[in-house]
Amino acid sequence: MAEERRFRSASGVPITLRRRQHSASCRELAVRGPRLQLRSLSAATSAVWLAAYGLFALSENSMVLSAAIFITLIGLIIYLHFVKIDQESLLVIGSLGIQVTSSYASGKESTVFIEMGQVKDVVINEAIHMQKVIYYLCILLQDPEDPQGVSEVVPLFQSSKPRLDCLIEVYKSCQEILEQRKTAPQSN
């Protein structure tokens, strides 16, 4: 059972939230950002090549042109592989843990799994970030010895910063699953 809704990110770009329910205690929420646009790619490439041509006209050194081509290619590859995140997803499995996956435009995926014993709660926090106050979803981790204190804060959806309406949807979905572990009998 999957549903998809459109939202906006904190900077105004359109993002989509896809929610899938695999079972009663397992849910997957994925936020997709926009794909790499052809117009921004061609704008960046033409800017770099025009600058290189200007340098070539000034210095009469043809190495500048080939260096510009290399820089454009390598810069594009580095950007796609390390910077441009296409989709960030959250897989919540009640009583097992939470898995956070970021998939980059080049196909690379990096995942982090947090077991349920360490998860204290999933909350919407607000903090100052680069002269703005933004809402962001984060997982509060607890120390096993000290269940009352917060040992670490893991922010989610860092690159496709969704706005509050999208965050509320994700928050409600996560809380439905996290509540089940209070009513379920303690096994340890």
Binding site: K120, D121, V123, I124, N125, A127, I128, H129, Y136, C138, L140, G149, V150, S151, E152, V153, V154, P155, Q158, I168, Y171, K172, Q175
Partner: protein, 105 residues
Amino acid sequence: FYCAVLYLIWAYIPETWLFSLGLTYWPQKYWAVALPVYLLVAVGIGYILLFGINMMSTAPLNSTHTVTDNFAKKQRQKKFQEEAIPALRDIPISEVNRMFFLPEK
């Protein structure tokens, strides 16, 4: 105030007149202009520096300081009294979130 008058006298009276008065070992007149310039540039850089220091000491998004602090960790619960306003305390962020975001409209 007296320093200001002294400073003006030193800056404006030509050197020869000061020498004739017997005051020979005073700093070069260059400093009469250089020191105010230094001060003003320092004030201007101070604006930028303060801005930068503020940005650097803002807690990053993944630190626990955005959620709690030393006072909130050590607070003690007062006993609940009937028909009295509850005591002032730091409410944990999970409770605040539940109050804000969970009730259906």
